[in-house]
């Protein structure tokens, strides 16, 4: 199959199309895989992520917008201003399929516009339009104004808010008002290019190789999705925040900047409590039958808000991570992040770092202009969400991210990050393999490169002891490769709670016509992960960066079921390099040859 990319040079406003041949598509698939291939081929190492040379890529995959279950997603890839390595971010909602209906599989932006612009893509045509009146507006107003201007309420938009415009290092791209391509500062790159939004409308259809074959495979898959207890029951009923109590009860719920793994009032911000107090209805991404999204409403002042979410990561990052258990305040702050375009994981993690710095007397009070920056203060997270989005007051310092903030106040060990990107909602001292996943993630502190929570906590596909390190390296590699495929075909990773690699191959082949074996599917994932690794190696990352914060390696958990434990990364890392065919964090020549990268 061939893929069609829209290429946009924002500096000279030229727009053209590029065809990706079947051979390249087979090797890199689409989504994350094709995105990293374009970046690797076209970017020189060492460029400034905010320079015209950086490319911002929006990419769907071969299954986006088809009957393949949970395929309403797309991927954003660029060089990260937060880490200096790769930033790539997966996102749901309706935008991805709409781009394919408009006749394009992806868009590659380069250059910098001389004045604010947005791109309007409709049925095989594209034009850059004036965005001066939109610059400075939040995402929600931006969407409404563009739909009004273009006269079509069904237009789908992916936009930045003030945070991206002002280059907050963890600014996000937000589509459909509440879905986020969140991590790594992709929104800041978009802001640096003076690009406000990408509006899409398409009336076309997506064709597949074997429609009848696909229908059979989909029917089988849907049965499995419905009968899985996770995708069929717990996610639709309670959303992702169903995890809050599980992770807290095993003592792995990072609290007050990872100072402990137990948050006594965690249940006040759980999926169960969300359902009791603020849930209005479910919200699915395009074509999804799991419907884990939450439409929510807080009625009580002072945090009244109507919107979507929060999700597990947000309820944690602005909750336990900051010592806060006020669900209303968290929901308000989360919606501010959606409107202003901020990654809530990095935001909450950076606020928590700031709280610890302040409590240890390292941030002078005058810098805060009266803000009470202590753990447990719900007002602080709401106020800082606003301030950070506009880079105002102390928000201007939060906008740097945890690593630069902690460096600035001479306490680098108080930033909980890997490779410069803040850690998410699972303490690796209580979950060993998940720690290896964090350390070896190409994009930095990330739980989704290798979601080891599935085997080590939930028990899918099988239960592994979270306290042991043996055998975890192979598991981490397998997850990383499989999730490369998820991000490149582009489907939601929650599908893997119900389907295995064989099932996914059965669903993919009728769409692509590639007749993959399961082995070829996994090898393609290995190739993509390795190419990503080559990209970050070229930017200077190696073994020294495949590590965890000092707190995770040397400070035992002080309480809870995993009391006394640290992450034993050194017992797993060499094993991981061995199974990967890497040496000291870099692929060997033999490995590159084996997977067709040399």
């Amino acid at each position: 199959m061939q893929l069609k990319l829209l290429r946009v040079n924002l500096s000279n406003q030229k727009i053209w199309t590029q065809t990706i041949d079947d051979e390249t598509a087979r090797k890199y698939v689409g989504g994350r895989g094709l995105g990293v291939k374009v970046l690797y081929d076209e970017l020189k190492p060492g460029i400034d992520p905010f320079s015209p040379e950086n490319k911002l890529i929006f990419m769907t995959g071969p299954v986006t917008g088809t009957a393949f279950p949970l395929s309403g997603r797309f991927h954003v890839i660029t060089k990260s201003p937060l880490t200096g390595g790769i930033a790539d971010s997966n996102c749901g909602g309706d935008w991805g399929p709409e781009l394919r209906f408009a006749g394009f599989d992806g868009i590659v932006f380069e250059g910098v516009a001389k004045a604010p612009r947005y791109l309007w893509v409709r049925d095989e045509k594209a034009e850059l339009r004036d965005a001066e009146k939109l610059w400075g507006k939040g995402v929600w107003d931006t969407e409404d104004m563009i739909r009004d201007e273009l006269g079509d309420p069904k237009i789908k938009l992916a936009s930045i808010g003030p945070a991206g415009e002002r280059l907050v290092l963890f600014a996000a791209i937000i589509n459909d008002k509440h879905r986020a391509a969140g991590r790594g500062g992709v929104g800041a790159v978009m802001g640096s290019k003076n690009l406000k939004s990408v509006a899409v409308r398409g009336m076309g259809k997506v064709s597949v190789a074997d429609l009848k074959g696909l229908e059979v495979a989909v029917r089988r898959a849907v049965e499995k999705i419905r009968s899985s207890a996770v995708t069929g029951k717990s996610l639709p009923e309670l959303g992702t925040a169903v995890l809050v109590n599980v992770i807290n009860e095993i003592g792995a719920y990072p609290t007050r900047n990872f100072q402990t793994g137990v948050f006594p009032t965690a249940n006040k911000t759980s999926g169960e409590t969300m359902r009791d107090k603020i849930l209005v209805s479910n919200k699915p991404c395009w074509g999804c039958i799991v419907r884990c999204g939450r439409v929510t409403k807080v009625k009580e002042p002072p945090y009244q808000v109507e919107g979507e979410g929060p999700e597990y990561e947000t309820v944690w990052s602005m909750g336990a991570m900051c010592g806060v258990d006020d669900l209303n305040a968290i929901t308000k702050a989360h919606n501010i992040c959606d409107d202003l375009g901020i990654d809530p994981i990095s935001f909450g993690s950076t606020v928590a770092c700031a709280m610890e710095l302040y409590e240890k007397g390292l941030i002078p009070k005058e810098k805060l202009y009266g803000l009470e920056l202590r753990f447990g203060n719900p007002q602080a997270i709401v106020e800082l969400a606003w301030l950070t989005g506009y880079r105002s007051g102390f928000g201007n310092e939060i906008a740097l991210g945890a690593k630069r903030l902690a460096d600035k106040y001479n306490a680098p060990d108080l930033a909980m990050h890997v490779k410069g990107m803040e850690l998410p909602a699972y303490d690796p001292r209580a979950i060993q393999g998940h720690g290896l996943g964090y350390a070896t993630s190409n994009r930095g502190g990330c739980h989704l490169r290798a979601y080891m929570i599935a085997p080590e906590v939930i028990g899918i596909p099988e239960k592994l002891d979270p306290y042991k390190t043996e055998g975890k390296a192979q598991w981490v590699k397998t997850f990383q490769d499989l999730f490369c495929i998820a991000d490149s075909l582009v489907f939601c990773k929650f599908l893997t709670f119900a389907l295995n690699a064989d099932d996914l191959r059965e669903l993919t082949n009728p769409i692509t016509g590639w007749n993959w074996t399961t082995d070829e599917l996994m090898r393609t994932g290995d190739r993509i992960y390795t190419l990503e690794r080559m990209f970050i190696n070229r930017e200077g990352f190696g073994r020294k960066d495949d590590t965890l914060p000092k707190r995770m390696l040397e400070e035992p958990l002080p309480e809870g079921p995993a009391k006394g434990r640290v992450n034993r990364l050194k017992e797993m890392l060499d094993d991981y390099y061995k199974v990967r065919g890497w040496r000291n964090g870099k692929p060997t020549k033999a490995k590159l040859k084996e997977i067709g990268l040399a």
Partner: protein, 95 residues
């Protein structure tokens, strides 16, 4: 008689309520505790937690004793003592 604290989350709240229950019981193992709870709160609990064929804990369910998954202790034969806390989860997932 020993006192065991029991908590159920997600869909198990419907049977067990939203707080820690203090249960006074001479059930010596996790398996016997589940039987005791099933008799008190309804046999739905047994169906929700256990595989009828193998009589073991259903895949994806979690039973914790003092925060540790019983699959890494002695399974349903894990012994209980006075003051232990048992937490029950149906399968959960997320990101």
């Amino acid at each position: 008689m020993p006192k065991i604290f029991v908590r159920g989350y997600a869909s198990l709240r419907e049977l067990l309520g939203s707080r820690d229950l203090e249960i006074v019981t001479d059930a010596e193992t996790v398996g016997l505790l589940i039987d005791f709870l099933a008799e008190r709160f309804g046999s739905n609990l047994r169906e929700m937690l256990l595989d009828p064929a193998t009589k073991n804990i259903l895949k994806g369910n979690k039973v914790l004793v003092n925060g540790r998954d019983v699959d890494f202790l002695q399974g349903l034969t894990t012994k209980l003592k006075d003051g232990d806390r048992v937490v029950l989860f149906p399968p959960s997932g997320g990101g």
